[in-house]
Amino acid sequence: MMITETTIPAADLRRKQPRFRGMESGHRACLGCGEALAARLATEAAGPDVMIANATGCLEIFTTPWPESAWRVPWMHSLFENTGAIASGMEAALKAQGKSTKVIAMGGDGGTFDIGFQALSGMLERGHNVLYICFDNEAYMNTGIQRSSSTPHAAMTTTSPPGKERMGKRHLKKDIISIVAAHHIPYAATASVAYPSDIRKKVRRAMAVDGPTFLQIHCPCPLGWGFEGEQSIDVARLAVQTGLFPVIELERGGIAGAMPIRNPRPVTDYLKQQQRFRHLFTDDTRAKEELEHIQAIADHNIEIYELHSENKDAFDTEGIDTVRRGGMRWA
């Protein structure tokens, strides 16, 4: 297995951007939905020769209310917890038929970190040629904002409410990328909707791998996190710039790259934007402790992934350019 690094200059790459939309507009996602944006970017980069297995969740629901569908690529949804296995079966069939169509599995954090965890692990271990994309919006949004194992520490959800005895979610966000990395798959990465060209680059890179690959995309949810829809990109960027969501790449389980942060922002810049953390900005002494705790998590991320860099800047040139042109609608 070989990872082919693209050597085409950025400007050429922009021109050569596949003018293809795997997921059409007109679906029923909320205003500012990070998941819808991420799915659109990922399918654009993946191109038309794909087959998608989608877990139950917001993405599945808002793209396919019968008899409508937003998908321009072959797509199926079976259940919540079996997406890794459905994708494995598709891949086995295509392999048996001698076809090169790439299978992409898609799931939310609930379908990936929690209920679909076993099927995902099986798929990775068996080495199926599948790109698994996890749209991580940090809770069960489709059922009305319940806590998942991806929900960050201290966040409020409908099943981790703050109160006299609690300060939101008691546990830490599951470190899924490390668990995935422990399968020693050829390529795994995290990404954020704040950096569209980074998503495209990582999808293209994963598409070129003949083997299991994994992409975790941080997708703010305006409704579930409590901010206005037009703030999605800002909120997503702050998650990266505070160090709370490290954007990294792993090859065969080893760190192969990280998006640097020139000036790490305090976590409060990120947290105060969101209603799910509002109980941390009260006079409660526990709130102050939790803020310190969250800052320590971010500091730890910055340290272990060596995110702090004076020299580099995560300037998402192509992404900004694309956004300025009004997304991909020009294509």
Partner: protein, 391 residues
């Protein structure tokens, strides 16, 4: 070719003759010998297919679903707890109207844990929307497996081939394994019109509002009812090639004048056949082999039971707190007859309990007292071994 083969080995060969492209399985007793034999066929290069050893039965069922959707004939096998773990996927496969074939090596359900045979597993998923065919012997298991693919692919419905664990799966019998040319003549290449294809993208498994759900369910129900014709045709066409039939929907054995029948499902038929020879009863007795449990062949059963005074339904599973499963359905179907026979219902052979030859005279004894209660009973239950309150 006639060979002495273990049931599992024979089924593995039958599966291979159907040229599946993807097989996924997770080991569970007594299904293991089937997939072990298939693995060996793959390892020896006798079967070209993707054999995937998955991490659970849930994934086994899901994987073959994905494979069938991507355009390949697929196969899986399971039993007992495996069937229950698959349950959610089984409903999903059927609702999506996907042609798949699986073998259920029938085994009891825990708790209490039992690795031995009964049919509580497949009976518990009878509402999943699969066709369920039950095999009386290993020759039937071979022939039914091949027929199942044709039925599944013509009806766009999944088929579960049920064979009693150990009693069939681990028993050596002389079996006629058909030639590859015979199977190729009978079973065309896999075709599924809703195959996922980048050239012609479609979306499958979408959300359906109350405006459409009832219609989707009705068409599924109707497809199962209509499948009866395909099940009969599949058996007839197979007989034309091989000279062997499996009994279509159901099969009646015995003389016309008999007004008593025993209806069975699965391998217990062999025990009763032998009992009729060894311990011949005073009255003529018909045997009814219910081969097809889903769709339930109510009309065929009614025709077969016309003129009967009594029918004893002997099954290998039940619904605690209610009673027999097959018995209740037989009772319901026959109630439409003008003079319906009395239905007596027993479950026997639970969790591998031996079904002795003298079950025949003991069952017929219930007919002696016409005033006796016809309430469902477990055969051979030893009440004195239970606490008084449970008796």
């Amino acid at each position: 070719m006639r060979q002495a083969l273990e049931g599992s080995q024979a089924v593995a060969q039958a599966v291979a003759l159907c040229r599946p492209q993807v097989i996924a399985a997770y080991p569970i007793t007594p299904q293991t010998h089937i997939v072990e034999n298939i693995s060996k066929l793959v390892a020896d290069g006798k079967l070209q297919c993707e054999f995937v050893s998955v991490e659970s039965e849930f994934s086994a069922a899901s994987l073959v679903l994905g494979a069938a959707m991507a355009g390949s004939r697929a196969y899986t096998a399971s039993a007992s707890q495996g069937i229950l773990l698959m349950a959610e996927v089984l409903f999903n496969i059927a609702g999506m109207r996907v042609p798949l074939v699986m073998t259920c090596a029938n085994r009891a359900i825990s708790s209490p844990l039992s690795i031995w045979n009964d049919q509580q597993d497949s009976m518990s998923v009878r509402d999943a929307g699969w066709i369920q065919l039950y095999c009386a012997d290993n020759q039937e298991a071979v022939d039914t497996t091949i027929q199942a693919y044709r039925i599944a692919e013509r009806c766009e419905l999944p088929v579960m081939v049920c064979m009693d664990g150990f009693t069939l799966t681990h028993t050596l019998e002389t079996i006629n394994i058909p030639a590859q040319t015979e199977v190729d003549q009978y079973l065309p290449k896999y075709q599924f019109k809703r195959t996922l294809d980048p050239q012609n993208p479609i979306s499958l498994g979408t959300l359906v509002s109350p405006d459409y759900y009832t219609e989707a369910r009705h068409s599924h129900h109707q497809a199962l009812l209509n499948a009866q014709a395909e099940i009969l045709l599949a058996d007839q066409d197979w007989a034309e090639i091989t000279g062997r039939k499996c009994g279509g929907l159901l099969e009646v054995e015995g003389t016309e004048e008999a007004d008593v029948a025993i209806l069975t499902i699965g391998s217990v038929l062999g025990t009763l056949r032998e009992a009729l020879e060894e311990l011949p009863p005073n009255q003529p007795v018909k045997l009814i082999k219910l081969r097809t449990f889903r769709p339930f062949p109510a009309e065929t059963l009614k025709a077969a039971c016309k003129g009967l005074k009594d029918i004893i339904v002997l099954e290998r599973a039940f619904s605690p707190g209610s009673g027999g499963i097959v018995g209740l359905e037989v009772l319901g179907a026959l109630s439409e007859l003008e003079n319906p026979p009395k239905v007596h219902n027993f479950a026997a052979g639970l969790g591998g309990r031996d079904i002795p030859l003298d079950i025949l005279p003991r069952l017929l004894k219930v007919l002696e007292d016409p005033t006796a209660s016809r309430q469902f009973k477990l055969f051979d239950v030893e009440l004195e071994r239970l606490p008084v309150e449970d008796r």
